[in-house]
């Protein structure tokens, strides 16, 4: 039981991180039809900027702020400069984001070096807390808590605000939204930057959870995020949340019981969804 609880909490923490990456990817894809292959690289930039600020100032909060801001700016610039000119040309967009992924990953290696860097939690988040007689690292609890807060926040944003409603309408039918007199292009930039900010926020939070960062850090998470998008359905918030938790939990449990098959099970899960419900667990049939 103690083992089960421990794996459950670890899986939830990982699921929350994957959610932070996947939700942006899914919204960007659902709204603009752009498969952002550089999303993982934005994640990596968030982690490195956060790490830099953290090691130079010692403030974890500042690090989170800086990493998130870096992601927002990168996402904004990326959409404005590169993606915008190619709406309607999906192939060019995918190819472009792949090129940006290469350049951004190499950029990290050029600036911070290609080697692994240590990333410890701040002192106020170190240590363990007892839950049901078991000791858990405070940091994991912190990740789950923060993830839940963001999840609820994004949900409220999407359901209760004007922008959220425009975004959800845009996922359904961008042309109709445009016809109703709303500047969809402006919303595109914002969503792109917002999705990138969420990913890089997740990256700074993820750093201390894994204890280290490497330039290729984004790729693994991006793969998981792709799987989540397929499982949950594109542009679907609930799908991204449920899919991310599912993938996080499977990954953690498999890593304990059958580590060799951890990735295989997630890919199999994706294949199963593609066979039985190609539009995703929560996706609407079109």
């Amino acid at each position: 039981m103690a083992l089960f609880l421990s794996l459950l909490l670890n899986g939830l923490a990982l699921g929350m991180l994957i959610f932070l990456i996947a939700v942006g990817l899914s919204l960007i894809f659902g709204l603009m039809g752009v498969l952002n292959f550089a999303h993982g690289a934005i994640f990596a930039w968030g982690a490195y900027v956060g790490w830099m600020v953290y090691t130079s100032t010692g403030s974890f909060l500042l690090a989170i702020l800086a990493g998130t801001a870096a992601g927002f700016v990168i996402g904004w610039v990326m959409e404005r400069v590169f993606i915008r000119a190619f709406y309607g040309n999906h192939v060019a967009q995918i190819l472009l984001t792949l090129g940006l992924m290469i350049v951004m990953t190499e950029g990290i290696k050029a600036i911070w070096g290609p080697n692994i860097l240590g990333f410890d939690p701040p002192t106020w988040l170190q240590g363990t807390v007892p839950i049901l007689g078991e000791l858990f690292p405070i940091y994991r609890i912190f990740v789950i808590g923060v993830g839940l807060l963001v999840l609820i926040g994004v949900h409220l944003l999407l359901t209760r605000t004007k922008y959220g409603i425009i975004i959800r309408a845009g996922v359904q039918d961008p042309e109709m939204v445009q016809a109703l007199g709303i500047n969809v292009k402006q919303v595109f930039s914002l969503v792109f930057a917002f999705g990138a900010a969420l990913a890089s926020f997740g990256a700074v939070v993820a750093g201390p959870m894994f204890g280290s960062i490497v330039p290729e850090i984004g790729m693994t998470h991006q793969l998981n995020a792709f799987i989540v998008v397929v499982i949950g359905g594109t542009g679907n918030f609930i799908g991204a949340a449920v899919g991310a938790l599912l993938v996080g939990l499977t990954q953690t449990f498999m890593a304990y019981y059958l580590p060799e098959a951890a990735v295989a099970v997630n890919v199999a899960l994706m294949a199963l969804v593609l066979i039985l419900r190609p539009q995703g667990l929560f996706g609407a049939r079109r």
Binding site: F82, I94, A110, L223, F226, A264, L274
Partner: protein, 323 residues
């Protein structure tokens, strides 16, 4: 007319002849090895061009096929020590890649084209991890060394001509494919999928056919690679190998076939040149950044790549001269 330049049979024959007499001009073993690399990678790049340039779908796991070819040959020959099993290994590799191609294609393309990108990435990553973990079969990260190959492949000069022949045959085969009714339909799908569908074509079947043909050619390139190197490790399945295919096709010019051959040459030699400069400044260790920037510039401003752009310039020049 536009098709003429670079597809011009005379020009190609001259190119082929120049490549065929190259070993008589130089006896640099290094240069011959580089050229063999260029030939094999060119076939791999052309196979990717069939997908990207002619069908208009983006694979992020093309290394799957290259790796299947390399590992089939590597494992079967290295584990049995029997060189005679080469043809069996190649046959096995082809069957495997056909099955994989159909599986991945049907599963993902049933939904949307971009799903193909995501699913190929996931399957590629899965195969990469299997190759890393299944030590007893693949040798893990260390790979398979001293793969026994038939004697003729030991001779570098002979291998040079085999690789050149391989490139020529594969080029002719793919050129035949893209100008066949199948290839024409693929290009029509690339241009306007809805219209092709409304004309009654089963678009999914055509796309899967394109994946299978492309996959088999990439598999053969992978098998040649294993024969050439006599050593393989997990890098044949890695994402970097897929990115190689993308760089070659895009930089050379997608939708031209011959572009991938030029792309392969450019990348192989520039890569070698830049890595030799890494002693001068550590920035040259980041040669991928250089390729990445070139790649982005080409995608934005020269979507037809080097060959396509030169071809267009040449055409407009001739046009203006005539008028």
């Amino acid at each position: 007319m536009r098709e003429r330049l670079f597809n011009n049979k005379l020009l190609l024959v001259i190119l082929l002849a120049a490549l065929a007499i190259l070993p008589f001009v130089t006896d640099s073993k290094f240069l011959l090895s580089m050229m063999i690399t260029v030939f094999i990678m060119a076939v791999y790049g052309m196979s990717y061009d069939l997908l990207l340039g002619y069908t208009g779908i983006v694979s992020f796991g093309h290394a799957i096929f290259f790796g299947v070819g390399a590992y089939s040959v590597g494992i079967l020959l290295a584990k049995t020590g029997d060189k005679g099993l080469l043809w069996l290994a190649v046959g096995l590799a082809i069957v495997l890649s056909i099955v994989l191609g159909i599986l991945v294609g049907v599963l993902s393309l049933r939904v949307k084209d971009v799903y193909f990108s995501m699913v190929t990435l996931a399957v590629g990553e899965l195969l990469f991890i299997i190759a890393e973990k299944w030590n007893t079969l693949t040798g893990g990260n260390d790979g398979l060394t001293y793969i026994p190959v038939p004697k003729i492949f030991h001779d570098r000069l002979a291998f040079y001509y085999i690789a050149l022949l391989f490139l020529a045959v594969m080029y002719l085969f793919l050129r035949r494919v893209v100008s066949s009714p199948l290839g024409r339909t693929l290009q029509a799908i690339r241009e306007n999928e809805h219209r092709v569908r409304s004309l009654g074509y089963n678009v999914l079947q055509y796309k899967v056919a394109s994946i299978v043909i492309s996959g088999v050619v990439a598999t053969l390139a992978g098998a040649m690679w294993a024969l050439f190197q006599r050593y393989i490790n997990t890098s044949v399945l890695g994402l970097d190998r897929t990115i190689d295919a993308l760089l070659m096709t895009i930089i050379g010019g997608s939708g031209t076939l011959i572009g991938a051959v030029f792309g392969s040459g450019v990348i192989t030699f520039v890569h070698d040149w830049l890595s030799s400069l890494s002693g001068v400044s550590p920035i040259f260790e980041r040669y991928m950044m250089f390729f990445g920037i070139i790649y982005i510039i080409i995608v934005i401003w020269f979507p037809k790549g080097i060959i396509g752009t030169i071809r267009d310039k040449w055409m407009s020049l001739r046009h203006s001269r005539r008028s």
